[in-house]
């Protein structure tokens, strides 16, 4: 009988560690403005995947202390594809029938939550490619990093790491569409 409260307490602890999946940032003002300003043709979103050089489980979740960060849709590569799609749609540049296709491979993904000012950090690196028909117009690895204040209190550090890391997804989309090489090839 005395073990029941312990089991209940453990269940609450486990529930607290299993955070809800993070929804797609449907409209990042920075990314949408980057796409709008680029005056590029409408495109569709192709395949996004995790590089074979990274452990496959890193596509599904990332550990932060006793918790895990999980994206809506079941994988970070799917989440990235949906983030690109959402920003293109918000900028009026998504066309599922377009022959211009953007795709990507996540080649770097990391999050840390050490204690102290600016000691939380996240990294996301993606090799993006843009094709028109069978022709590859663009291929480049783009990297974004973030830093934030972390805490010795897990209840503060874990959510900070979650949104610090997940904010890199709209950030990398903005950086892609700010890329001068991409803008140049798409205007041809």
């Amino acid at each position: 009988m005395m073990r029941r409260p312990y089991v209940l307490g453990l269940s609450l602890f486990v529930a607290a560690c299993a955070m809800a999946p993070v929804p797609v940032q449907t409209m990042s003002a920075k990314a949408v403005n980057a796409i709008s300003d680029a005056r590029i043709p409408a495109m569709r979103v192709g395949q996004f995947e995790l590089s074979k050089t990274l452990p496959g489980k890193r596509d599904r979740s990332l550990a932060v202390r006793a918790a895990t960060i999980r994206p809506e849709g079941g994988s970070f590569s799917h989440y990235l594809a949906e983030t690109v799609k959402a920003q293109l749609a918000a900028a009026g540049r998504l066309d599922e029938r377009s022959d211009t296709i953007v795709s990507g491979e996540i080649v770097g993904s990391d999050v840390g939550s050490a204690i102290g000012a600016d000691s939380g950090h996240g990294l996301l690196a993606v090799e993006f490619a843009v094709h028109r028909g069978d022709t590859q117009l663009f291929k480049k690895t783009i990297t974004v990093e973030g830093k934030w204040n972390s805490s010795f209190i897990g209840g503060v550090a874990i959510p900070a790491a979650e949104h610090g890391y997940m904010a890199l997804y709209p950030e990398i989309v903005a950086k892609l569409f700010f890329d001068e090489d991409l803008r140049r090839v798409l205007k041809r």
Binding site: Y6, M27, A29, S151, I153, G164
Partner: protein
């Protein structure tokens, strides 16, 4: 007295025995209850409502695209964006500033961008931690400041108009006096709705009253 092992089976066994003791469970429950029962939220009264005589009504509202992003300390926060966006949309529609809101570009190209940046008090976590350790006796009052920037671009090459509105939300935990000049609210959602309603009213009223706002003819003074 012989040497004691630290950690391992000994420590786990000790922890299990203590957790199973009713007295400790009662204390833990009390701590949880003290923290939750005495928490309260207060919306700062400095901004308040827009006075009736200052309202700029948009006579012929047009459709606009809404871009909204909630940030925490300047970093995009997808979960908070998803939570706040429907509340924000409701308040914008209720004001009659636009005829309809869309997630995608609209005819005419009007776009309303809203960035809501939550700047939590720097030592908020430590204050809450101390309150928990002292069973609520060392109360804490922490503030969240909100900088909300509204940018309206009318489309067709029109000049964009920007207004920034500041607001503040307090959270009181444990034994602590409530903040001065603030309105108590019972639920967190109620607090969010009140903050959003007031910043939207002030931000969009400022845009509607701007001389460069050519979205539609307007009347002033609530007429």
């Amino acid at each position: 007295m012989g040497m004691q092992r630290i950690g391992g089976d000994h420590m786990r066994g000790t922890l299990f025995r203590h957790v199973a003791q009713p007295k400790l469970l009662i204390v833990m429950t009390g701590l949880l209850a003290a923290q939750t029962a005495s928490a309260g939220m207060y919306v700062d009264n400095t901004l308040g409502e827009v006075r009736a005589e200052d309202i700029h009504k948009v006579a012929s509202p047009r459709p606009a695209q809404l871009l909204f992003e909630f940030q925490t300390d300047g970093t995009a926060n997808a979960k908070a964006t998803k939570y706040v966006k429907p509340i924000l949309s409701d308040e914008i529609k209720a004001l009659g500033f636009v005829s309809e809101l869309s997630d995608t570009p609209v005819a005419g190209g009007a776009r309303l961008t809203v960035i809501m940046n939550d700047i939590p008090q720097k030592n908020a976590a430590s204050k809450g931690f101390v309150t928990g350790l002292t069973f609520g006796l060392a109360g804490a009052l922490v503030a969240d400041d909100y900088d909300v920037t509204f940018t309206y671009a009318g489309g067709d090459g029109q000049q964009s108009i920007t207004r920034t509105v500041h607001h503040r939300l307090y959270t009181k935990i444990g034994a602590k006096d409530p903040p001065p000049n603030a309105t108590a609210v019972k639920k967190a959602e109620e607090a969010v709705r009140l903050v959003v309603r007031q910043v939207v009213a002030h931000g969009l009223n400022g845009i509607a009253g701007d001389a460069a706002f050519t979205g539609s003819p307007r009347t002033e003074g609530g007429q």
